[in-house]
Amino acid sequence: MLRASEVCERAGFPTSSLVCEGFLGQAAATSVGLGMPNLAVAMIPGHPGAQSMEELRANVAQVTAQQVIDNLLNEPEAQEQRPEPAARDIVFRGSFEEVNAFFYERQWSDGLPIVPPSIDKIEQFLSFTDRDRDEVLGIVLPESRAVTIWAVAVNGVMAGCRPEYMPILVALAEAMSDPMYGVEHSGNTPGAETLIILNGPIIKELGFNFEQGVLRDGFMPNTSVGRFWRLALRNMAGFLPHKTDKGSFGNTFRVVLAENEDAIAKMGWLPNSVDMGFAAGDNTVTITRLTGGGVMASVTGSTPEQMMPYLSDGVAKQTSWEIVFTVGGITYGTLRPVLILTPILAQTMARAGWSKDDVKRHLFEHARMPAWRVEAYTEQWADFPIVSLKHQVNLGRLPRAFAESDDPNRLVPIVLQPDDFMVLVSGDPLRTNAYTFAHNGYLGFPTAKKINLPADWASRIKAER
Protein backbone atom coordinates (compact mmCIF):
# COMPACT_ATOMS: atom_id res chain seq x y z
CA MET A 1 0.00 0.00 0.00
CA LEU A 2 1.53 3.26 -1.16
CA ARG A 3 0.40 5.36 1.79
CA ALA A 4 2.42 3.06 4.05
CA SER A 5 5.41 3.28 1.72
CA GLU A 6 5.25 7.07 1.77
CA VAL A 7 5.40 7.14 5.58
CA CYS A 8 8.37 4.77 5.58
CA GLU A 9 10.30 6.65 2.91
CA ARG A 10 9.72 9.93 4.70
CA ALA A 11 11.19 8.40 7.87
CA GLY A 12 14.27 7.22 6.01
CA PHE A 13 13.36 3.60 5.30
CA PRO A 14 13.60 2.54 1.64
CA THR A 15 10.59 0.63 0.36
CA SER A 16 9.27 -1.48 -2.42
CA SER A 17 5.51 -1.42 -2.89
CA LEU A 18 3.85 -4.53 -4.28
CA VAL A 19 1.16 -3.67 -6.80
CA CYS A 20 -1.02 -5.95 -8.91
CA GLU A 21 -0.65 -5.48 -12.65
CA GLY A 22 -4.04 -3.85 -13.10
CA PHE A 23 -3.24 -1.22 -10.49
CA LEU A 24 0.02 0.09 -11.93
CA GLY A 25 -1.69 3.14 -13.43
CA GLN A 26 -3.38 3.94 -10.14
CA ALA A 27 -0.06 3.51 -8.35
CA ALA A 28 1.66 5.96 -10.69
CA ALA A 29 -1.07 8.59 -10.23
CA THR A 30 -1.33 8.05 -6.49
CA SER A 31 2.43 8.38 -6.06
CA VAL A 32 2.30 11.88 -7.54
CA GLY A 33 -0.32 12.89 -4.99
CA LEU A 34 1.84 11.57 -2.19
CA GLY A 35 4.69 13.79 -3.34
CA MET A 36 6.79 10.80 -4.34
CA PRO A 37 6.19 10.13 -8.04
CA ASN A 38 9.21 7.85 -8.07
CA LEU A 39 7.95 5.50 -5.34
CA ALA A 40 9.40 2.13 -6.25
CA VAL A 41 6.82 -0.44 -7.31
CA ALA A 42 7.20 -4.17 -7.94
CA MET A 43 4.52 -5.79 -10.06
CA ILE A 44 2.44 -8.85 -9.22
CA PRO A 45 1.47 -10.18 -12.69
CA GLY A 46 -2.29 -10.46 -13.19
CA HIS A 47 -4.32 -10.65 -10.00
CA PRO A 48 -3.79 -13.10 -7.12
CA GLY A 49 -7.54 -13.63 -6.85
CA ALA A 50 -7.56 -15.38 -10.22
CA GLN A 51 -4.45 -17.50 -9.67
CA SER A 52 -3.75 -20.81 -7.99
CA MET A 53 -1.16 -20.67 -5.24
CA GLU A 54 1.29 -22.36 -7.60
CA GLU A 55 0.73 -19.73 -10.28
CA LEU A 56 1.01 -16.91 -7.78
CA ARG A 57 4.22 -18.24 -6.30
CA ALA A 58 5.70 -18.70 -9.77
CA ASN A 59 4.82 -15.12 -10.71
CA VAL A 60 6.39 -13.77 -7.53
CA ALA A 61 9.53 -15.83 -8.12
CA GLN A 62 9.90 -14.97 -11.80
CA VAL A 63 8.82 -11.32 -11.86
CA THR A 64 8.19 -9.65 -8.52
CA ALA A 65 11.19 -10.74 -6.45
CA GLN A 66 13.90 -9.23 -8.62
CA GLN A 67 11.95 -5.96 -8.88
CA VAL A 68 11.75 -5.81 -5.08
CA ILE A 69 15.51 -6.31 -4.84
CA ASP A 70 16.17 -3.62 -7.43
CA ASN A 71 13.78 -1.23 -5.70
CA LEU A 72 15.58 -1.58 -2.38
CA LEU A 73 19.10 -1.31 -3.78
CA ASN A 74 18.95 1.10 -6.72
CA GLU A 75 18.53 4.84 -6.32
CA PRO A 76 15.41 5.94 -8.26
CA GLU A 77 15.54 8.74 -10.80
CA ALA A 78 14.80 12.21 -9.47
CA GLN A 79 11.45 13.73 -10.42
CA GLU A 80 10.19 17.24 -11.06
CA GLN A 81 6.80 18.66 -10.27
CA ARG A 82 4.81 20.11 -13.16
CA PRO A 83 3.63 23.70 -12.69
CA GLU A 84 -0.12 24.21 -12.33
CA PRO A 85 -2.41 27.23 -12.72
CA ALA A 86 -3.23 29.43 -9.74
CA ALA A 87 -6.84 29.50 -8.58
CA ARG A 88 -7.81 32.68 -10.44
CA ASP A 89 -5.72 32.18 -13.58
CA ILE A 90 -7.76 32.22 -16.76
CA VAL A 91 -6.89 28.86 -18.28
CA PHE A 92 -9.01 29.16 -21.42
CA ARG A 93 -11.18 31.54 -23.43
CA GLY A 94 -13.74 30.20 -25.85
CA SER A 95 -17.34 29.44 -26.71
CA PHE A 96 -19.57 27.24 -24.57
CA GLU A 97 -18.75 24.25 -26.76
CA GLU A 98 -15.03 25.04 -26.80
CA VAL A 99 -14.89 25.41 -23.04
CA ASN A 100 -16.66 22.10 -22.64
CA ALA A 101 -14.28 20.37 -25.04
CA PHE A 102 -11.30 21.91 -23.21
CA PHE A 103 -12.54 20.69 -19.85
CA TYR A 104 -13.51 17.26 -21.13
CA GLU A 105 -10.11 16.68 -22.74
CA ARG A 106 -8.44 17.43 -19.41
CA GLN A 107 -10.80 15.17 -17.47
CA TRP A 108 -12.20 18.14 -15.57
CA SER A 109 -15.79 17.30 -16.48
CA ASP A 110 -17.93 14.20 -16.14
CA GLY A 111 -18.95 14.03 -19.80
CA LEU A 112 -22.10 16.10 -19.44
CA PRO A 113 -21.95 19.76 -20.43
CA ILE A 114 -20.66 21.96 -17.64
CA VAL A 115 -21.52 25.57 -16.93
CA PRO A 116 -18.31 27.47 -17.78
CA PRO A 117 -16.71 28.59 -14.49
CA SER A 118 -16.19 32.24 -15.22
CA ILE A 119 -15.17 34.69 -12.53
CA ASP A 120 -18.52 36.47 -12.47
CA LYS A 121 -20.38 33.20 -11.96
CA ILE A 122 -18.01 32.16 -9.21
CA GLU A 123 -18.47 35.51 -7.48
CA GLN A 124 -22.22 34.91 -7.37
CA PHE A 125 -21.63 31.68 -5.47
CA LEU A 126 -19.11 33.28 -3.14
CA SER A 127 -21.67 35.91 -2.22
CA PHE A 128 -23.66 33.16 -0.51
CA THR A 129 -21.01 32.38 2.08
CA ASP A 130 -19.36 34.48 4.75
CA ARG A 131 -16.24 32.34 4.55
CA ASP A 132 -12.97 33.63 3.15
CA ARG A 133 -12.68 32.49 -0.45
CA ASP A 134 -9.14 31.25 0.12
CA GLU A 135 -9.95 29.35 3.31
CA VAL A 136 -8.59 25.81 3.18
CA LEU A 137 -11.13 23.33 4.56
CA GLY A 138 -8.74 20.43 4.35
CA ILE A 139 -6.19 18.64 2.21
CA VAL A 140 -7.46 15.50 0.55
CA LEU A 141 -5.98 12.52 -1.21
CA PRO A 142 -5.25 11.15 -3.71
CA GLU A 143 -3.79 14.39 -5.11
CA SER A 144 -3.16 16.08 -1.76
CA ARG A 145 -5.05 19.15 -2.91
CA ALA A 146 -6.35 21.98 -0.81
CA VAL A 147 -10.12 22.02 -0.55
CA THR A 148 -10.89 25.72 -0.74
CA ILE A 149 -14.05 27.77 -0.68
CA TRP A 150 -13.02 29.03 -4.10
CA ALA A 151 -12.75 25.52 -5.58
CA VAL A 152 -16.13 24.66 -4.07
CA ALA A 153 -17.67 27.60 -5.90
CA VAL A 154 -15.96 26.67 -9.18
CA ASN A 155 -17.26 23.12 -9.09
CA GLY A 156 -20.69 24.31 -7.96
CA VAL A 157 -20.89 26.54 -11.02
CA MET A 158 -19.77 23.69 -13.27
CA ALA A 159 -22.36 21.29 -11.82
CA GLY A 160 -25.25 23.60 -12.67
CA CYS A 161 -26.01 24.51 -9.09
CA ARG A 162 -27.67 27.79 -8.22
CA PRO A 163 -25.55 30.24 -6.22
CA GLU A 164 -27.76 29.89 -3.16
CA TYR A 165 -26.80 26.21 -2.86
CA MET A 166 -23.32 27.36 -1.87
CA PRO A 167 -23.76 26.84 1.93
CA ILE A 168 -24.67 23.22 1.25
CA LEU A 169 -21.68 22.78 -1.06
CA VAL A 170 -19.35 24.19 1.58
CA ALA A 171 -20.73 21.78 4.20
CA LEU A 172 -20.19 18.91 1.77
CA ALA A 173 -16.59 20.00 1.23
CA GLU A 174 -16.10 20.08 4.98
CA ALA A 175 -17.48 16.55 5.22
CA MET A 176 -15.20 15.45 2.40
CA SER A 177 -12.25 16.85 4.32
CA ASP A 178 -13.17 15.09 7.56
CA PRO A 179 -10.86 12.09 8.14
CA MET A 180 -13.81 10.18 9.59
CA TYR A 181 -15.35 9.88 6.14
CA GLY A 182 -12.24 8.46 4.49
CA VAL A 183 -12.46 10.17 1.11
CA GLU A 184 -9.07 8.75 0.20
CA HIS A 185 -10.77 5.38 -0.32
CA SER A 186 -13.19 6.72 -2.94
CA GLY A 187 -11.30 5.07 -5.79
CA ASN A 188 -11.47 1.54 -4.43
CA THR A 189 -12.62 -1.25 -6.70
CA PRO A 190 -16.16 -1.90 -5.40
CA GLY A 191 -16.96 1.54 -6.84
CA ALA A 192 -19.44 2.55 -4.16
CA GLU A 193 -21.12 5.93 -4.49
CA THR A 194 -21.86 8.57 -1.90
CA LEU A 195 -25.38 9.34 -0.76
CA ILE A 196 -25.93 12.88 0.46
CA ILE A 197 -28.69 13.17 3.06
CA LEU A 198 -30.10 16.64 3.63
CA ASN A 199 -31.93 17.84 6.73
CA GLY A 200 -33.39 21.08 7.98
CA PRO A 201 -35.52 23.99 6.81
CA ILE A 202 -33.17 24.54 3.89
CA ILE A 203 -34.86 21.60 2.15
CA LYS A 204 -37.99 23.61 1.58
CA GLU A 205 -36.27 26.99 1.33
CA LEU A 206 -34.34 25.80 -1.71
CA GLY A 207 -37.00 23.55 -3.18
CA PHE A 208 -35.41 20.12 -2.74
CA ASN A 209 -37.62 17.18 -3.62
CA PHE A 210 -38.32 15.05 -0.56
CA GLU A 211 -41.32 13.13 -1.80
CA GLN A 212 -42.09 10.89 -4.76
CA GLY A 213 -39.04 10.17 -6.93
CA VAL A 214 -36.63 11.48 -4.31
CA LEU A 215 -33.74 9.43 -5.71
CA ARG A 216 -34.56 10.31 -9.33
CA ASP A 217 -32.92 13.08 -11.34
CA GLY A 218 -35.24 15.85 -12.48
CA PHE A 219 -35.15 18.22 -9.52
CA MET A 220 -32.50 20.90 -9.90
CA PRO A 221 -31.33 21.15 -6.28
CA ASN A 222 -31.18 17.39 -5.68
CA THR A 223 -29.58 16.66 -9.05
CA SER A 224 -27.08 19.48 -9.33
CA VAL A 225 -25.79 19.13 -5.76
CA GLY A 226 -25.40 15.39 -6.33
CA ARG A 227 -23.45 16.15 -9.49
CA PHE A 228 -21.33 18.68 -7.61
CA TRP A 229 -20.19 15.94 -5.26
CA ARG A 230 -18.85 13.78 -8.07
CA LEU A 231 -17.20 16.76 -9.77
CA ALA A 232 -15.61 17.64 -6.43
CA LEU A 233 -14.26 14.10 -6.09
CA ARG A 234 -12.81 14.47 -9.58
CA ASN A 235 -11.39 17.98 -9.42
CA MET A 236 -10.87 18.77 -5.75
CA ALA A 237 -9.71 15.33 -4.56
CA GLY A 238 -8.39 13.94 -7.84
CA PHE A 239 -10.35 10.74 -8.46
CA LEU A 240 -10.16 10.00 -12.18
CA PRO A 241 -11.37 6.81 -13.87
CA HIS A 242 -8.56 4.76 -15.39
CA LYS A 243 -6.17 6.47 -12.98
CA THR A 244 -6.91 7.00 -9.30
CA ASP A 245 -10.52 5.79 -9.47
CA LYS A 246 -10.35 2.00 -9.78
CA GLY A 247 -14.05 1.25 -9.40
CA SER A 248 -14.32 -1.97 -11.40
CA PHE A 249 -17.77 -0.96 -12.58
CA GLY A 250 -18.46 2.25 -10.68
CA ASN A 251 -21.72 4.06 -10.25
CA THR A 252 -23.12 7.34 -11.48
CA PHE A 253 -23.61 10.04 -8.86
CA ARG A 254 -26.63 9.86 -6.59
CA VAL A 255 -29.00 12.79 -6.33
CA VAL A 256 -29.45 14.29 -2.86
CA LEU A 257 -31.90 12.52 -0.59
CA ALA A 258 -33.82 15.06 1.47
CA GLU A 259 -35.79 13.73 4.40
CA ASN A 260 -39.50 14.50 4.73
CA GLU A 261 -39.22 16.51 7.91
CA ASP A 262 -42.91 17.49 7.93
CA ALA A 263 -43.91 13.83 8.07
CA ILE A 264 -41.20 13.06 10.62
CA ALA A 265 -42.34 15.85 12.94
CA LYS A 266 -45.98 14.87 12.56
CA MET A 267 -45.33 11.31 13.72
CA GLY A 268 -43.10 12.39 16.62
CA TRP A 269 -39.89 10.88 15.25
CA LEU A 270 -36.61 12.75 14.97
CA PRO A 271 -34.75 13.48 11.72
CA ASN A 272 -31.45 11.97 10.68
CA SER A 273 -29.68 15.17 11.72
CA VAL A 274 -30.44 14.31 15.36
CA ASP A 275 -29.09 10.78 14.89
CA MET A 276 -25.92 12.42 13.60
CA GLY A 277 -25.55 14.59 16.71
CA PHE A 278 -27.27 17.82 15.76
CA ALA A 279 -30.47 19.47 16.93
CA ALA A 280 -33.77 18.96 15.20
CA GLY A 281 -34.21 21.91 12.88
CA ASP A 282 -30.53 22.28 12.14
CA ASN A 283 -29.59 22.37 8.50
CA THR A 284 -27.16 19.50 7.95
CA VAL A 285 -25.61 17.32 5.30
CA THR A 286 -24.66 13.71 5.94
CA ILE A 287 -22.53 11.76 3.53
CA THR A 288 -22.23 7.98 3.51
CA ARG A 289 -20.78 5.71 0.85
CA LEU A 290 -23.08 2.97 -0.37
CA THR A 291 -22.32 -0.03 -2.54
CA GLY A 292 -25.82 -0.57 -3.89
CA GLY A 293 -29.49 -0.56 -3.09
CA GLY A 294 -32.81 -2.21 -3.73
CA VAL A 295 -36.48 -1.58 -3.24
CA MET A 296 -38.90 -3.55 -1.10
CA ALA A 297 -42.11 -3.05 -3.01
CA SER A 298 -45.61 -3.18 -1.55
CA VAL A 299 -44.81 -3.63 2.10
CA THR A 300 -48.07 -4.93 3.50
CA GLY A 301 -49.46 -4.74 7.02
CA SER A 302 -51.24 -2.46 9.42
CA THR A 303 -48.82 -3.07 12.29
CA PRO A 304 -45.02 -2.96 12.60
CA GLU A 305 -45.00 -6.66 13.42
CA GLN A 306 -46.62 -7.39 10.07
CA MET A 307 -44.28 -5.11 8.11
CA MET A 308 -40.95 -5.73 9.74
CA PRO A 309 -40.28 -9.32 8.56
CA TYR A 310 -40.26 -8.15 4.93
CA LEU A 311 -38.16 -5.10 5.74
CA SER A 312 -35.68 -7.11 7.83
CA ASP A 313 -35.40 -9.69 5.07
CA GLY A 314 -34.72 -6.98 2.48
CA VAL A 315 -32.12 -5.18 4.58
CA ALA A 316 -30.29 -8.41 5.41
CA LYS A 317 -30.28 -9.60 1.79
CA GLN A 318 -28.85 -6.32 0.47
CA THR A 319 -25.73 -6.80 2.56
CA SER A 320 -23.48 -9.55 1.26
CA TRP A 321 -19.67 -9.27 1.17
CA GLU A 322 -20.00 -5.95 2.99
CA ILE A 323 -20.42 -8.04 6.16
CA VAL A 324 -16.62 -7.99 6.34
CA PHE A 325 -16.89 -4.44 7.67
CA THR A 326 -18.79 -5.81 10.65
CA VAL A 327 -16.97 -9.02 11.42
CA GLY A 328 -13.37 -8.03 10.82
CA GLY A 329 -12.41 -9.16 7.34
CA ILE A 330 -11.17 -5.63 6.88
CA THR A 331 -12.24 -3.94 10.09
CA TYR A 332 -14.81 -4.25 12.87
CA GLY A 333 -18.18 -2.63 13.35
CA THR A 334 -18.06 0.05 10.67
CA LEU A 335 -21.00 -1.18 8.59
CA ARG A 336 -23.94 1.28 8.50
CA PRO A 337 -26.76 -0.13 6.31
CA VAL A 338 -29.55 2.27 5.38
CA LEU A 339 -33.31 1.71 5.44
CA ILE A 340 -35.52 4.37 3.85
CA LEU A 341 -39.19 4.26 4.77
CA THR A 342 -41.86 6.15 2.91
CA PRO A 343 -43.87 8.34 5.27
CA ILE A 344 -46.89 6.05 5.19
CA LEU A 345 -44.79 3.12 6.44
CA ALA A 346 -43.12 5.17 9.15
CA GLN A 347 -46.44 6.66 10.20
CA THR A 348 -47.97 3.21 10.53
CA MET A 349 -45.14 2.22 12.84
CA ALA A 350 -45.36 5.43 14.83
CA ARG A 351 -49.09 5.04 15.22
CA ALA A 352 -48.43 1.69 16.88
CA GLY A 353 -46.09 3.39 19.33
CA TRP A 354 -42.84 2.44 17.63
CA SER A 355 -39.95 4.89 17.63
CA LYS A 356 -37.10 4.89 15.17
CA ASP A 357 -35.02 3.15 17.84
CA ASP A 358 -37.62 0.36 17.97
CA VAL A 359 -37.19 -0.13 14.23
CA LYS A 360 -33.42 -0.29 14.61
CA ARG A 361 -33.68 -2.78 17.48
CA HIS A 362 -35.99 -4.99 15.45
CA LEU A 363 -33.61 -4.87 12.51
CA PHE A 364 -30.73 -5.80 14.79
CA GLU A 365 -32.60 -8.83 16.04
CA HIS A 366 -34.10 -9.94 12.73
CA ALA A 367 -32.08 -8.58 9.79
CA ARG A 368 -29.59 -11.40 10.09
CA MET A 369 -27.77 -13.91 7.91
CA PRO A 370 -26.69 -17.50 8.49
CA ALA A 371 -23.28 -17.85 10.11
CA TRP A 372 -22.13 -20.16 7.31
CA ARG A 373 -22.76 -17.40 4.77
CA VAL A 374 -20.68 -14.87 6.74
CA GLU A 375 -17.84 -17.36 6.86
CA ALA A 376 -18.23 -18.13 3.17
CA TYR A 377 -17.92 -14.42 2.28
CA THR A 378 -14.82 -14.11 4.41
CA GLU A 379 -13.09 -17.45 3.93
CA GLN A 380 -14.24 -19.07 0.68
CA TRP A 381 -15.93 -16.77 -1.81
CA ALA A 382 -13.85 -13.68 -1.13
CA ASP A 383 -10.50 -13.04 0.45
CA PHE A 384 -11.25 -11.37 3.78
CA PRO A 385 -10.07 -14.04 6.22
CA ILE A 386 -11.40 -14.09 9.78
CA VAL A 387 -10.82 -17.82 10.52
CA SER A 388 -14.34 -18.15 11.96
CA LEU A 389 -16.95 -16.12 13.76
CA LYS A 390 -16.39 -18.21 16.88
CA HIS A 391 -12.67 -17.42 16.72
CA GLN A 392 -13.42 -13.70 16.58
CA VAL A 393 -15.83 -13.99 19.52
CA ASN A 394 -13.24 -15.91 21.54
CA LEU A 395 -10.74 -13.13 20.88
CA GLY A 396 -13.26 -10.61 22.18
CA ARG A 397 -13.56 -8.83 18.87
CA LEU A 398 -17.21 -9.69 18.28
CA PRO A 399 -20.11 -9.94 20.75
CA ARG A 400 -21.49 -13.32 21.73
CA ALA A 401 -24.46 -12.87 19.39
CA PHE A 402 -22.17 -14.05 16.59
CA ALA A 403 -21.39 -17.43 18.19
CA GLU A 404 -24.27 -18.49 20.41
CA SER A 405 -23.94 -22.03 19.05
CA ASP A 406 -21.87 -24.04 16.59
CA ASP A 407 -24.80 -24.44 14.22
CA PRO A 408 -23.67 -23.08 10.83
CA ASN A 409 -27.31 -22.19 10.12
CA ARG A 410 -27.60 -19.97 13.21
CA LEU A 411 -28.56 -16.40 12.35
CA VAL A 412 -26.09 -13.67 13.27
CA PRO A 413 -26.46 -9.88 13.14
CA ILE A 414 -25.12 -7.92 10.17
CA VAL A 415 -24.05 -5.04 12.43
CA LEU A 416 -22.67 -4.80 15.96
CA GLN A 417 -25.44 -2.71 17.50
CA PRO A 418 -28.92 -1.39 16.61
CA ASP A 419 -27.67 2.17 16.14
CA ASP A 420 -25.48 1.00 13.27
CA PHE A 421 -28.61 1.01 11.12
CA MET A 422 -29.53 4.35 9.56
CA VAL A 423 -33.29 4.78 9.21
CA LEU A 424 -34.56 7.61 7.01
CA VAL A 425 -38.01 8.84 6.00
CA SER A 426 -38.52 10.09 2.47
CA GLY A 427 -40.05 9.17 -0.88
CA ASP A 428 -43.66 8.86 -1.99
CA PRO A 429 -45.76 9.80 1.05
CA LEU A 430 -48.62 7.46 0.29
CA ARG A 431 -46.92 4.45 -1.26
CA THR A 432 -45.98 1.49 0.88
CA ASN A 433 -42.49 0.91 -0.48
CA ALA A 434 -39.14 0.92 1.27
CA TYR A 435 -35.58 1.12 0.03
CA THR A 436 -32.36 -0.20 1.46
CA PHE A 437 -28.69 0.42 0.77
CA ALA A 438 -25.67 -1.67 1.64
CA HIS A 439 -22.73 0.27 3.01
CA ASN A 440 -19.02 0.43 2.30
CA GLY A 441 -17.86 0.47 5.92
CA TYR A 442 -15.11 2.81 7.01
CA LEU A 443 -14.28 3.44 3.33
CA GLY A 444 -16.99 6.11 3.41
CA PHE A 445 -18.24 6.26 6.98
CA PRO A 446 -21.31 8.40 7.72
CA THR A 447 -20.14 11.94 8.38
CA ALA A 448 -22.34 14.96 9.00
CA LYS A 449 -21.76 18.71 8.98
CA LYS A 450 -23.92 21.65 9.90
CA ILE A 451 -24.73 23.99 7.04
CA ASN A 452 -23.67 27.51 7.98
CA LEU A 453 -25.74 30.21 6.34
CA PRO A 454 -24.54 33.71 5.50
CA ALA A 455 -25.73 36.54 7.74
CA ASP A 456 -28.10 37.88 5.11
CA TRP A 457 -29.53 34.46 4.21
CA ALA A 458 -33.18 35.20 4.96
CA SER A 459 -33.33 38.40 2.94
CA ARG A 460 -31.30 36.91 0.09
CA ILE A 461 -33.52 33.86 -0.18
CA LYS A 462 -36.60 36.01 -0.02
CA ALA A 463 -35.21 38.15 -2.82
CA GLU A 464 -34.34 35.09 -4.90
CA ARG A 465 -37.91 33.89 -4.61
Binding site: M1, L2, P14, G49, I69, F92, G94, T331
Partner: protein, 108 residues
Amino acid sequence: MAKKSTADGQYEVVWPSGERKQALQPLAKRLDTLNGKTIAQLWDFLFAGDEVFSQLEQELRAQYPQVKFVSWREFGSTHTVNEKELLASLPLRFKELGVDAAISSMAC
Protein backbone atom coordinates in the same frame (compact mmCIF):
# COMPACT_ATOMS: atom_id res chain seq x y z
CA MET B 1 -11.38 43.97 -11.59
CA ALA B 2 -13.12 40.65 -11.95
CA LYS B 3 -13.22 39.21 -15.43
CA LYS B 4 -16.64 38.40 -16.77
CA SER B 5 -17.98 35.99 -19.31
CA THR B 6 -18.22 38.10 -22.40
CA ALA B 7 -21.29 39.18 -24.26
CA ASP B 8 -19.95 37.77 -27.51
CA GLY B 9 -20.52 34.20 -26.39
CA GLN B 10 -16.98 33.75 -25.22
CA TYR B 11 -16.17 32.57 -21.72
CA GLU B 12 -13.01 33.12 -19.75
CA VAL B 13 -12.71 30.26 -17.33
CA VAL B 14 -10.58 29.13 -14.40
CA TRP B 15 -9.46 25.65 -13.55
CA PRO B 16 -11.44 23.63 -11.05
CA SER B 17 -8.80 22.20 -8.73
CA GLY B 18 -7.19 23.41 -5.57
CA GLU B 19 -3.50 23.88 -5.03
CA ARG B 20 -1.44 20.73 -4.65
CA LYS B 21 -0.17 20.89 -1.08
CA GLN B 22 2.23 18.00 -1.16
CA ALA B 23 5.62 19.12 -2.39
CA LEU B 24 8.00 16.61 -3.90
CA GLN B 25 9.72 14.56 -1.25
CA PRO B 26 13.01 12.74 -1.68
CA LEU B 27 12.98 9.00 -1.25
CA ALA B 28 15.06 7.33 1.41
CA LYS B 29 18.60 6.31 0.57
CA ARG B 30 18.65 2.78 -0.82
CA LEU B 31 20.56 -0.08 0.80
CA ASP B 32 24.00 -1.27 -0.35
CA THR B 33 23.03 -4.92 0.10
CA LEU B 34 20.22 -6.98 1.59
CA ASN B 35 22.63 -9.24 3.43
CA GLY B 36 22.44 -8.54 7.14
CA LYS B 37 19.55 -6.15 6.66
CA THR B 38 16.09 -6.44 8.21
CA ILE B 39 13.04 -5.94 6.01
CA ALA B 40 9.61 -5.24 7.44
CA GLN B 41 6.56 -6.74 5.73
CA LEU B 42 3.54 -4.47 5.64
CA TRP B 43 0.29 -6.00 4.45
CA ASP B 44 -3.24 -4.69 3.99
CA PHE B 45 -4.61 -8.22 4.38
CA LEU B 46 -5.80 -8.35 0.79
CA PHE B 47 -5.07 -10.49 -2.25
CA ALA B 48 -3.06 -13.36 -0.76
CA GLY B 49 -0.27 -11.15 0.49
CA ASP B 50 0.66 -13.79 3.05
CA GLU B 51 1.50 -16.20 0.21
CA VAL B 52 3.33 -13.47 -1.68
CA PHE B 53 5.52 -12.62 1.31
CA SER B 54 6.25 -16.27 1.93
CA GLN B 55 7.51 -16.68 -1.63
CA LEU B 56 9.38 -13.38 -1.55
CA GLU B 57 11.25 -14.44 1.58
CA GLN B 58 12.36 -17.58 -0.22
CA GLU B 59 13.50 -15.68 -3.33
CA LEU B 60 15.32 -12.92 -1.46
CA ARG B 61 17.09 -15.41 0.79
CA ALA B 62 18.26 -17.31 -2.28
CA GLN B 63 20.26 -14.25 -3.36
CA TYR B 64 20.96 -12.73 0.05
CA PRO B 65 21.18 -15.54 2.63
CA GLN B 66 21.66 -13.17 5.58
CA VAL B 67 18.57 -11.07 4.93
CA LYS B 68 16.09 -10.99 7.83
CA PHE B 69 12.38 -10.25 7.90
CA VAL B 70 9.88 -8.86 10.37
CA SER B 71 6.57 -10.52 9.57
CA TRP B 72 3.39 -8.65 8.69
CA ARG B 73 1.93 -10.33 11.78
CA GLU B 74 4.00 -7.90 13.86
CA PHE B 75 2.15 -4.87 12.47
CA GLY B 76 -1.40 -6.08 11.71
CA SER B 77 -3.38 -4.87 8.72
CA THR B 78 -2.36 -1.52 7.27
CA HIS B 79 -5.78 -1.18 5.61
CA THR B 80 -7.93 -0.61 8.63
CA VAL B 81 -10.03 1.97 10.32
CA ASN B 82 -7.06 3.20 12.39
CA GLU B 83 -4.79 3.38 9.37
CA LYS B 84 -3.47 6.86 10.10
CA GLU B 85 -2.45 6.00 13.65
CA LEU B 86 -0.93 2.70 12.60
CA LEU B 87 1.12 4.24 9.81
CA ALA B 88 2.27 7.07 12.06
CA SER B 89 3.58 4.51 14.54
CA LEU B 90 5.73 2.70 11.99
CA PRO B 91 8.94 4.77 12.16
CA LEU B 92 9.26 4.21 15.90
CA ARG B 93 8.32 0.54 15.60
CA PHE B 94 10.92 0.11 12.87
CA LYS B 95 13.60 1.61 15.08
CA GLU B 96 12.61 -0.67 17.95
CA LEU B 97 12.72 -3.70 15.67
CA GLY B 98 15.93 -2.76 13.89
CA VAL B 99 14.24 -2.50 10.52
CA ASP B 100 16.28 -1.21 7.55
CA ALA B 101 13.66 -1.29 4.76
CA ALA B 102 10.06 -2.26 4.08
CA ILE B 103 7.93 -4.05 1.53
CA SER B 104 4.35 -2.79 1.46
CA SER B 105 1.50 -4.68 -0.18
CA MET B 106 -0.91 -5.30 -1.89
CA ALA B 107 -3.41 -2.64 -3.01
CA CYS B 108 -2.70 1.01 -3.75
